[in-house]
Symmetry: D2
Subunit: 352 residues, 4 copies
C-alpha cells in the first residue's frame, strides 16, 4: 500500500545534504516532494507503507525529524475494519453493545472456594469467570500458581456453572496447554511486549485478552494487538488496567480516556480492569462505572470471599456482595447507554 | 493535637546512634517508644502533630525512613469535617448531590459572542458561566486576555443571563479586582503551588475553584486547598483536569480515580474538567460521563460557537449543540445516581 | 518572520473540507501548499511565525494534526544567538566554560550560622552563596522564611565574604525588594509557569536563575525563559532540579540528559541542582559529577553545618566537609573537560 | 529469618477490629506489638521475612497501611554480599573498578560489516562486542533478526577479534541455544518482568545483562535480578537504559541517579546504556560520561559504520570514529575516578 511520510530537514542543512537525502530516498524507491520554506526544507515521501516505517530515515545526515502520517498498525485500525468487532468468548459475545463481566479471584485456589465464588458472581451478573493458574509475581518467593492443576479446577468450575473461563498464559511453551482448557487467553501487562508470547497466542485458535502494559502508549498497545492479528487470530479484546504515574494514591493510574481513544482508532473491543488499575476496593466500583460511562465493552473485577486469606492480591478484591452491588449499577448504566450485559451461553457445554 | 509518627532506623545503626536519636527526639518534646527487631529498630514518636511534621527527623544520623501516620492536611480532611461540604457559588449550591455545570469559552471574547454562548449553555443546563480575562499562556507571544475589560463583559453577561460566573486569577495584585466581579475565583493548574496567590484568595471572601497541578499528587493538591482554608476561607471546590503522562494520545492524563480518592480523604466538592484533561472534543463527552459516574460534583467544559476562530484553546472546545447533548446525558446519569444538576439562583441579581 | 507549518488532514476529509481549510488559511494570510497522498492530504503553510503558532488551526474541520516546524521560542534559541551566553552574576561569569558553584543552606537562618557556612563553602570553592528568605512550602504550617530580615542577613554575609548571593522570589510585589539585595533572582520550580512573576523579573535588571518545573518539558522550560528574555532581560541561567517520576527511590528524577538537550537548542547557561533532584545526601556527589560530565555550567548544592536542626530541607543538605570533597572532584573533572570554576569577583563590593 | 513489619490501623478502627487483627497475625505465627497513639494504633509484627511479605495483611479489616521494613530482595542486597561483585564475562572482569565497554550494532548484520565494526570498536577500547540475533520489535512488520545464523556470525567475529560477545535472548526455548554461543545473555527492557525467561536464564551457567524495564522502579529491577540469583546464577550485571517520561525531547529518560541508588542497595555491577536512554547520537557521549561520573561499572553504546542503512535503530548509532572519541574521554574520566577499562582476555579462545 502506498503511503505518505514527511521529513523535516535541519535548519542548517546544506544544499549537498538536501541532494543526498533526495538521492537516498529515491534509491529506496520512494517518491520525494520538496518544499523549501524560509527556515526549513520539507520533503514529503510517497512509497510502500511498511518500508516507509522501517527504513532508518532519521539517520540520513541533514534530517531533523521524521513525521509519520499513517499509524503503524493496520489490521487493528478502523481503516481496516470500520465496524466494531464482536469477539465470541465461549459463547459470550463481547463488543458491539454487549458487555463482558469478567470476575473471579486473582489466583485459582481450592475447588470448593472456586465454585462458591463462581456461583456468587454468576448470580450477580458475571458472564466470564477468571482465575490465574500461572501467576507472574514480582518476587520469586511469592506463590506462583497451581499450574495445570489450577487449569483443571477452573475448567471444571466453569463447566459446572455454564460460564466461559479466562486465565493468564505466561510461557510460550504452555500456550497449547492453556488453550486446551480456557476460552480466553489472558496476556498480562508485564508481557504486553513479550512478542514471542504474542506470536504464539496469535497462532492459537482462542481469543486473547490483551492487558495494556504499565508504560505502554495506546499506539504501543495496538501494535501488540497487531502482533496477534498478524498471525491470523482476529479475536483480541483490549483491557485497560492502569499505567505508571507519580502519585502513590493508587496502585496504578486508571486511564479511562484510553477507552474513547481506542474507540477512535480501532475496531477491537476494549474493557477496563479497575481492580488492578486502583488496587483499592473502595475505588473499584466508581472506576468500574466510569469505565462503562466512557464506553468500555466490559469490566474485569477481582472477587474473593475471604480477601484476608487470598493466595494473591487479596487486598484489592471485592467481596461477592460488593460485586453484586456494582454489577447492578453497571446493568442500569448500560441500559442508559443502550447496551446490555452479554448473556451467558445456552446450556450446552461451553468448553467444547 | 498529639499525633504519632514512626522512625525506622538503619540496619547498621549503632547503639550510640540509637541513644542520640532518642535524646534528640525527647529534647524536641516528643515521647519515644523503642521496639528492637532482629534487623531493624523502630521508634514510635508521640507529640504535637505540626511539629512532628516539620522537624528534620530524617537528618538525624542513623534514621533510615520517617513514616508519617497522619495526613499533613487538617482542615481539608474528613476527620475535620466528616460530612461533604456544599459550596455556594453565587446562589448555586455545589456538592452534596448537586452538580456544578460550568461552561463557556476559554477566553472572554467580544460581548455579543459571550452572550450568545451563555444563552446556549444556559439552555442546555449549565449553571455557572466561565471565561478567562487573564490568560496564563505558555508563550509570551500568545493572546493574554482582555484584563478588567474582560471581567466587565463576563459580569454583564452573567447578570443578563442570571448565571454566576467563574474566571481565573493569576496575580496576587489582582485578587481584589477579580473578586469584585466574579462569583468563583479559579486558580489554574500552573498556579496550584503559587502559595502567595493561594494565601491571597484565602483572604478574599469568594469561593475558590482549585485546579489540580499537572504533576501534583492528591496530597499536594489537598495541601494547596489547606493553604486557602487556613486563611479562613472554607469554600474550596477541587477540579481534576489531567496530569502529565508519557502517552501523547491525550493532552493530559485524565485521572478519574482522583474523584473517589478525594472523596475518601476530604469533604471538599470535586469536579472534573475533561476539556483540559483530554484536549480533544471527541473525548470530552465520554470523559465527562466517566467523571460523573465516578462521583464528581460537577463538570467543567469549554464551549465555543466557532472554535476555528477562538482566541484561545479553540481546538478543544465543544460546539453548543455538542454541549447540549452531553449535558442531557449527564442529567440522566445524575438521576441514576440520585443526584441533580444544581438549580440556577432565583431572579435577584446573582452578582451582589 | 516567515515560517513553515504542516497540516495533516484526516483520512476521511471530504473535498469540501479540504477547500474550506485552504480558504480559511488563505484568509488568515498564509500561503497554502497542497500535497495529496493515497491516504492523507497534507497542506504546508508559509506565513508569519507567531501567527502560525497562535491560530487555532487544529479546530478547522478536517484537520487531523498540526505539525510545528519551528520551535516556539526565539530569543532563547541557538538560531537567535549561536554562541553560548555568559551571564554575569555580581562579578562571577557563568557559562562559556566557567562554572557556577552555588552553595548554602535551604533557608536563611541566624547570621552567625550563615556566616560560618559561607566561609566554609567559599573555602571549598563555592562562588555564589544561596539562602531562601521567602520559602514556598507545601504546607501552610511549615516555616515560611524570614522575609526581608533574611535578605539583609544574606546580603551582609555575602558582602563580608565577597560572594554574590542568590535567593528565591515568589511574589511579584517583592521583586523590587529582592532585587535590591540579591545578585541573582531565583524562580523556583513551582513558579516556573507563574507568568506574572516571570514578566516581573524580566523587567528587573538582575539575572534570573530559572529552575525547571517538576512536570515541564524542555520546550516548556525554554518558553518560560522566553518570557523573561522577551521583557528585555537577557540574563537567564537555567537549572535542572529533577522532574516527577513513578519511582520513589529519589525525591525527583534527575534528568541529566536535559543538559546536552538544552545545549543543542539554546545559548543559555544550564546548571544542575542534585540536592533537590535526588533529596538524599549520598546521591548528591555522584549526580553533581554526572551533571558536570554532561556539560553543565555549574552546580547548585545545599549545605548546612547541622542538618538535624535545619529550618528547611535539612535531610537533603551536605555537611561543609562533604561539600569540600565534591567541590574538589568537580574542579578536577572541570579541568579534564577544559573548564574552570569561575573566579570570585575582585575585592570591590560585590553588591554594586 | 526473622524480620519486622509495621501495620498502621485506620483512624476509626474499632476495638474488635484491633482484636481481630492481633488474632489473625498471631494465628499466622507472627509476634504482635501494639502501640496506641491518640489517633492511630500501630502494630509491629515480628516473624519470618518471606511470610511477612507474602501474607495479604492489608486485607484484614481495620488495617490502613502496611509498612515493609526490609527490602523484598535478599540475594541482590548489600546485606547478603557487602562487597561489590565482579562478574566475569568471557574473561573480562566487570565491576569492582573495572569498566565494561560494550559496543556494536543493534542487530547482527552481514559478516564483513560485523567484523569491520568489531575491529573498530576494539581498537577504540571496547571489551565486549554486541549484536542482536533475535530482535524484539514493536512492529510485527519490522526486521526480527537473523536468528541462529546471527549467533554464528557474532561468535565467529568475537573469536576472530578475541572479544567476548553479548546478545539478547527473548524466548525461554532459545536460552540453551543462545548460551551455546554467547558469553553474556541480555534480557531486554521489555522482558525485565518476563519471569519465565528470567527463571530460564537463571538456570543457565552464563552471566546475564539485565536491562531495566521502562516503567520499573529500582526495587522492581532488583526483584527481577533476584529471580535470576534465586536460581543459583550469581552473575548478573544491571543496565540502566532510560525510563518512560512525559518529555518527548529524548526517547527515554536517562535515570543517571539509578547508578548510585543501586550502589547503595546492591552489590551487583550496574552499567549505563545512553544509546537507548536518549535515542539521539548527540546526547550519547555526554550521557555516557555522566554515567561513568555517577559511578557506573561500564557503558553500552550502539555503533554502526553506516547508520542510514542499518537494519535496526540506525538513527541512534554512533559512528566508529565518534565511539573512539567518547571511549577516550571515558578512559580519562575512569582514571580520574581510580578505575580502568577492563582488559580483554588473553589470547586463548574466549568462547570456552
Amino acid at each position: 500500500m502506498a503511503s505518505v511520510l514527511i521529513l523535516i530537514l535541519k535548519s542548517d542543512a546544506t544544499e549537498s545534504q538536501i541532494q543526498h537525502v533526495i538521492e537516498r530516498v529515491e534509491s529506496l524507491g520512494f517518491g520525494a516532494h520538496l518544499s523549501r520554506g524560509t527556515f526549513r526544507t520539507i520533503i514529503g515521501l510517497i512509497g510502500d507503507e511498511q518500508r516507509l516505517q522501517s527504513e532508518p530515515l532519521s539517520a540520513i545526515p541533514g534530517v531533523c525529524q521524521v513525521v509519520p502520517v499513517m499509524p503503524p498498525y493496520k489490521l487493528a485500525s478502523l481503516d481496516a475494519h470500520p465496524q466494531p468487532s464482536v469477539v465470541d468468548v465461549g459463547g459470550v459475545p463481547v463488543g458491539g453493545g454487549q458487555l463482558a463481566m469478567i470476575a473471579g479471584p486473582c489466583a485459582v485456589e481450592e475447588p470448593e472456594r472456586m465454585l462458591r465464588i463462581a456461583m456468587a458472581v454468576k448470580a450477580a451478573g458475571a458472564n466470564i469467570y477468571r482465575g490465574g493458574a500461572y501467576k507472574p509475581r514480582t518476587s520469586p518467593y511469592s506463590f506462583q500458581g497451581l499450574g495445570e492443576d489450577g487449569l483443571k479446577i477452573l475448567r471444571d468450575v466453569g463447566d459446572t456453572c455454564g460460564m466461559p473461563i479466562v486465565t493468564e498464559v505466561t510461557d510460550p511453551r504452555n500456550v497449547e496447554t492453556v488453550a486446551r482448557y480456557a476460552d480466553l487467553l489472558q496476556i498480562g501487562a508485564r508481557n504486553m511486549q513479550n512478542f514471542v508470547l504474542l506470536t504464539e497466542v496469535g497462532q492459537s485458535n482462542k481469543p486473547v485478552l490483551l492487558k495494556r502494559g504499565m508504560s505502554a502508549t495506546i499506539v504501543d498497545w495496538l501494535m501488540s494487538a497487531e502482533y496477534v492479528l498478524a498471525q491470523g487470530n482476529p479475536n483480541v479484546i483490549l483491557c485497560e488496567r492502569g499505567i505508571k504515574s507519580f502519585d502513590p494514591s493508587t496502585r496504578n493510574l486508571f486511564d479511562v480516556a484510553a477507552v474513547p481513544v481506542v474507540k477512535g482508532l480501532s475496531h477491537l473491543p476494549v474493557i477496563v480492569d479497575p481492580s488492578h488499575a486502583t488496587g483499592k476496593p473502595a475505588l473499584i466500583p466508581p472506576c468500574a462505572l466510569a469505565g462503562v460511562a466512557a464506553g468500555a465493552d466490559g469490566v474485569h473485577i477481582e472477587v474473593h470471599d475471604q480477601p484476608e486469606v487470598a493466595k494473591s492480591d487479596g487486598p484489592q478484591a471485592l467481596l461477592p456482595e460488593q460485586y453484586a452491588e456494582v454489577a447492578d449499577q453497571i446493568r442500569q448504566l448500560a441500559a442508559l447507554l443502550g447496551k446490555t450485559i452479554a448473556p451467558l451461553p445456552s446450556a450446552t457445554s461451553p468448553g467444547n
